[in-house]
Symmetry: C2
Subunit: 666 residues, 2 copies
């Protein structure tokens, strides 16, 4: 007990003899010493078998949200009901459904239908598919989603990005104009694989894979895609007939300016008017969110108006191409169109996976956004299964890839949708259109579809977000930047791949060259903080306290060893230059070393040996559970012994200085 | 001041009213409160411009060891001398060289020469090159290394892994038997690119890239390569003449057992005897390291003995194939063999890069190992340049890829080598051999080369290390395992690529699913530690303290949000079940969150909002410098305000509880 007090005394004198704050510190240690509590033992984590650890790890990877927690302590009947509700969210909200909710849903359902019909036709064109496929895709998938989906605001149907990517990838191998059957087959098969891929991500609970498309990447990607899509619409807006099928910016612009003789002034004038109308409506609704219906109704209004105009002046409107004949009737079955072999099989899988992942990303992100606004939870893995099954059913009934659309969901939300019934109302409206109103679209000019697409994709260019990325995080901006230019100049899949590569590289750079900081004591406290950041922090004589801000992996083991030795060298030089007391002990604060591998362990072993050879003490403070376990298993823990590990930097300093003091006395 | 004491009082009552340890705590806070120091402000790191940060970052990435520090504060002449020593380490040790050092170096030089000559011939055969190339490669490169290299113990020359890989990769396209000129051209050009690649890694200070071949990966890779090489030597050992040129285990074994009619009993008997001799010598020297010369001299002894035997019984030894005629004379120039176009150009670059990276890894690792043993430093980037220049010079003088060999360097070290002069002595011995002794090798049987290779590569199979990996780190073992089987069953480059992929995946898994821990207070201290690990740690009523053990990136942002909400839910359930005091505040310990990106920032913003909606307070403790900066730039810092950030968990708890107390009173 007497020894203990001695140790504490010496410590408090050492750390700060010039300031009366030191008294506080002494006070603490004295008090603690009276309870024999100065040095705590660093605990190993409770022992677990490899199997148990694997199980725990697997449950963290695949079931982080513990989806079965609500089944705990329930009667079998209640469990059955819960399971039913879990599988079919419709049973969750269905029983409480009432007229008031229905009224909201009908209003919002009709509103999104007025948007979905023209957009469905336009997006199908974007995918180089016949316009009717877009309407088919706006009918059945929303019905399926309303039973399986857990979001209350998602408006389901074709979306621009997935349509664009499918169109590009398929057209590079097969042209719809030359071989329409093969193209349709490819589109449905790709949709099938998109659905299978989506559903299996959800089933296998691998939903986290879509997280690798970071928001920064998506901002760049969507902007790039939007620019390309908008430029491609110049075909319709200018009335050009010979246009490239490629998706890079260079061939698209070449097509536009090489075919100036095909430009049709009637088309241009009419297109410009409607485009201005649509963009102004959009702008207006953005300024006054309450008048969301202005931009929601604008596309249908434009379609009706332009169709009327063309119908009235049809004899004089040679330059203006129209949609033409559209068959009446419901979705025909398309199971016979799916194929699982042949030269295009790989292309179908590839297109399926890429459009699948993109539409999933959009659908999940949209679902999460509106769920957060209304404070309910959307289960990512369940949503993936819902979207996946919807596409698998869709591909058998002449639909192509569908998901939750951002623009229509926003309108749905603003129009007061309360449940997935709004999707049912929308599907019913599309049904009526399919059964009775198709002939009305005969004279709808193609240019109006181009206008609708442009007005929709302009919203995808979020330059403010890009600016924010630049301000907050340069590497995130780099991701955004590469995916934008990758999509514009190389290709959609390559652009995405490069952006994911940059994202991963970002993680690796941080791991390869982690921060190391020198810590100092904040007088009057037990707090040890970066000397660089906290001006009040002071170095502790004879100690060098280093904090490593990263796991220790093979990728940084050599660097950390060199860097730590350099810190030691620089500290020794500094001490020599300032005539301070000689460096005697290096403390490594391991709080932020959240993981270690065998290379990291070697580095610590090596450092210990090298510093020992130079008669410097080397101790670790606050190793995390994982690190302790590895140190133990690699037998390095024994080498460090009792005196080599401390729970905190403060305890390390107090204990080591007191040992010195004792030695000096002896 | 009065308010302050109130707050502190209430706090100490709260955290632990059942135990007198709490008194210590109160004591501390009381003391601190008297100095008005309860709450420290969390500092932002000092402001730096983007350019300055970029510069700092670049210097950390490329110059972590601050190579110019020795030039500081020196006279121009001294600087010149230092620069010379920096570029040519020979000037560093040269001036102090004396007879005593020379004696050691001559002994070790002769010893490694006796090993280098038979190994040089054997390894050239491994690369499917004529044996003489192996001797050429043991002459010039060591001379160049002795001037440029900074290791004192590296024995330079051809090595098994690089030879094997070069042989495999080239033979898949060109066979030496069919087109020897093309094969030689390819080998020299690949060596050139290996050299260029190595030197540029060093010059551009990208040496850290070789760290991505972690030790675990290399253990598996080398073992796989060793197994393949040893099996391939069955060709020589069994006397088979028709043998596959492929490198996977399946075709090699097929070759062995399909051609049993070609097996020659004379070869088998002789081979078995010498193999047993070599392996026993190796075993003996491993047991008695002082008798290292036993295994060092064994190969040369075997060559001499076997050559004599074959020479004496040549009329009867039909089955035993011999090396045959070897030209006398020095390295002929081979600059005219280099090519920079044509169909094999890509193959030459690919082979160059892969053999370059492998030989670099071996050379650097060997250099570092012996430097650590003798307590001197080897500069990785400088070594890369030395090895690179040595190969670039080598490819112009009929040498193929060379580096520091592990086995010969070990012998060099044991034989007492003191400086790179031992390499010069070795080169001189090889010179004498090349000029005068080549005819002596005419009757050397090929089987002895096979024996030497097998005895050498057996040492590469480090199953004990693999076992240790399994014990300490399962994921490291997985890297080792995949590279082993990848090399055996797929191919050398693919095996390596897969192993690197697994290594990177290991980092990503850790980032994607990081640990979150619940912290509790260790009574009587300011220490907050994992409740799971430290049995003495206690929860603080009304608080949930969570530690996140990972950076917050796009890859884990969603997971962390869900996981934290789950902790909150579980804590609320626990509180309800135990009738504890209701959860009021969540503290996120950010000490180990060493980096954050825009997705991570969004997660914190989102969490704040969601918890706020549930009337829960949400504060951060000890954000690191990087995180603070990002929080500030994204304007999230303002949202948190003064009361939302604390330097330590302890201060957060003390301050927040005192606020509650004040409110309750008011």
């Amino acid at each position: 007990m007497g020894g203990n007090s001695n140790r504490v005394e010496s410590f408090s004198v050492r750390i700060d003899s010039s300031d009366d704050m030191a008294m506080v510190n002494m006070h603490v240690d004295q008090a603690a010493a009276d309870h024999d509590q100065v040095v705590h033992k660093v605990s190993l984590p409770p022992h677990q078998t490899t199997l148990k650890k694997l199980k725990h790890r697997a449950s963290e990877i695949f079931f982080p949200e513990d989806p079965l927690h609500r089944f705990k302590n329930q009667t079998p009947f209640k469990k059955f009901v819960l399971a039913l509700q879990f599988l079919f969210p419709v049973f969750e909200w269905g029983p409480n459904y009432d007229l008031k909710l229905l009224r909201s849903d009908v209003v919002s359902g009709l509103t999104i239908a007025s948007l979905a019909i023209p957009q469905g036709i336009s997006y199908a064109k974007l995918a180089n598919l016949p316009p009717i496929i877009g309407l088919y895709s706006s009918f059945l998938p929303p019905l399926i989603y309303s039973v399986l989906g857990s979001s209350r605001h998602l408006a389901v149907g074709p979306v621009s990005i997935a349509s664009l990517v499918m169109g590009t990838m398929l057209t590079e191998s097969v042209s719809y104009a030359n071989d329409s059957t093969q193209y349709l087959k490819l589109a449905f098969t790709a949709t099938f694989f998109a659905g299978v891929f989506q559903a299996s991500l959800g089933l296998l609970r691998l939903g986290f894979l879509i997280d690798f498309l970071s928001k920064a990447t998506l901002v760049g990607f969507m902007a790039g895609a939007a620019v390309i899509v908008a430029l491609q619409q110049l075909k319709g807006l200018l009335g050009i007939t010979h246009f490239t099928t490629k998706m890079q910016i260079v061939p698209v612009l070449t097509s536009v300016f090489k075919n100036t003789h095909e430009w049709s002034w009637q088309t241009i004038v009419m297109g410009a008017c409607f485009l201005i109308f649509l963009l102004s409506a959009r702008k207006y609704s953005m300024k006054y969110p309450k008048h969301f219906w202005v931009s929601a109704a604008a596309p249908l209004t434009s379609v009706i108006l332009s169709t009327l105009i063309v119908f009235l002046i049809k004899s004089k409107a040679h330059g203006i191409s129209v949609i033409g004949y559209l068959p009446k009737g419901l979705n025909p079955p398309s199971t016979n169109m799916l194929f699982f072999s042949g030269p295009y099989f790989v292309l179908a899988i590839k297109t399926g996976i890429i459009t699948g992942i993109l539409s999933l990303t959009e659908g999940i992100a949209v679902g999460r956004t509106f769920a957060a606004l209304k404070n309910y939870q959307v289960d990512g893995n369940k949503e993936m299964m819902a979207i996946g099954f919807m596409n698998m059913a869709g591909c058998c009934t002449s639909c192509y890839v569908t998901t939750g659309s951002f623009s229509r969901s926003a309108v749905n939300y603003n129009a007061g949708a309360k449940t997935a019934v709004s999707n049912i109302v929308m599907a019913a409206t599309v049904l009526v259109t399919l059964l009775f109103l198709m002939p009305l679209f005969h004279y709808t000019p193609n240019l109006i579809l181009a206008c609708i697409i442009i007005a929709a994709v302009v919203g995808l260019i979020d330059w403010q977000e890009a600016l924010r990325l630049w301000k907050v995080d340069k590497l995130d901006f780099l991701c955004c930047f590469t995916s934008f230019f990758g999509v514009l100049f190389i290709s959609v899949p390559m652009g995405l791949a490069i952006a994911v590569g940059v994202s991963v590289f970002k993680i690796l750079v941080n791991v390869t060259r982690p921060n190391t900081i020198v810590l100092g004591n904040i007088p009057g406290t037990h707090i040890y903080q970066s000397l660089n950041r906290y001006k009040e922090a002071l170095t502790v004589p004879s100690f060098l306290i280093l904090g490593i801000e990263s796991p220790m992996y093979f990728a940084n083991a050599t660097y950390l060893q060199e860097r730590i030795l350099r810190w030691v060298r620089e500290e020794e030089e500094r001490v020599q230059a300032t005539n301070g007391s000689a460096l005697k002990c290096i403390i490594l604060d391991m709080t932020a070393v959240t993981a270690i591998d065998t290379s990291g362990i070697e580095t610590i072993r090596e450092l210990r040996k090298l510093l020992h050879n130079r008669s410097l003490q080397f101790v670790l403070a606050n190793p995390t559970a994982t690190v302790m376990e590895k140190l133990f298993k690699s037998q390095l823990l024994e080498a460090f012994g009792v005196g080599g590990l401390y729970v905190t930097v403060g305890e390390a300093i107090s204990d080591i200085s007191s040992t010195w003091k004792t030695k000096a006395k002896a």
